[in-house]
Symmetry: C2
DNA sequence: TGATAGAGTTGGAATTCAGGACTTAGAGGG
DNA sequence: CCCTCTAAGTCCTGAATTCCAACTCTATCA
């Protein structure tokens, strides 16, 4: 059965499987090698292969040969992959606040000098977005029936 | 095998399974009933039951009886669940831009009157966060060995 | 009396995942 | 020359999940 036509569902079809976002997190950290990604995420190697191929096919990652003999590859983010950093940071911050106990395990520094805390704002007025200030004016259709 | 100590991984342990975020999306839309959530997401009913129980146990959703005879329940967001709206919106926007073809299926209106586009900014300086302006100053450890 | 609605359960088939062993192509050390 | 190591996967098997459709249980509606 198909659900609602929705960009959240579409996005999750690309990055929503287990390990995908964790692999991308590693690439964001600058880790480019298969073995390191496997070790740092904890994913099993065959699943990781499948995920990386999927992300590559979706245009989020690029697989590049950096050595010919023996052939060796590395993974780098595409533009779409780099744009995922806001997703990762927003998820991380939610995890820091509502799931992780104790200190945040990872801290990023912003170029302004501060330890990064992100805020999600309305691009038009700059106000912080809160659930109460939103109204859906159009929602994706749910395919009818059976 | 365990991977890196990380709030992204922790967050995904709570909301990263298939259907969880889609169920939460429906609740954000104001859909509170099991049957409607099942229909609008496309999840099978048994899995949805498991997910909703998990989200409840994690404190993201609350299951409330709204009628005693016959017993009927609805799902509402907790504070932690409401805080996920920024995650959902950020994911949706990425999906709109890099996955969905054509017009965004869903549009929210912000209280300022504009159709909502979100921007992820540094809470300290207010500048938009971009990959190039970030440096990791602490990263979660990866458990050693085997 | 029969149909309908809400909120699940249940059972079996299909799929995915974990974990480890194996492969390939060369480089480096003794 | 022989042995070992590294990077990047593949392959295999058994266990765990997910999918799907049908069934249950209560109670109200027509």
């Amino acid at each position: 059965m198909r659900g609602r036509d929705c960009s959240i569902a579409n996005a999750l079809a690309v990055v929503g499987e287990r390990w995908s976002l964790l692999a991308l997190r590693e690439v964001m950290f600058g880790v480019r090698r298969f073995d390191q990604i496997a070790h740092n995420t904890g994913a099993s190697r065959d699943i990781l292969t499948t995920r990386l191929r999927g992300l590559e096919a979706a245009g989020v990652l690029e697989r590049r040969q950096y050595e010919a003999h023996p052939p060796r590859y590395e993974y780098v983010l595409t533009e779409a992959g780099r744009a995922l950093n806001t997703v990762l940071l927003t998820v991380m911050q939610w995890g820091d606040r509502y799931v992780t106990e104790g200190e945040p395990p990872t801290v990023w520094q912003h170029s302004c000098g501060a330890d990064l805390q992100v805020k999600t704002v309305c691009a038009a007025c700059g106000d912080e977005v809160r659930a109460s200030s939103l109204t859906p004016i159009r929602v994706g259709a749910v395919p009818a029936g059976r």
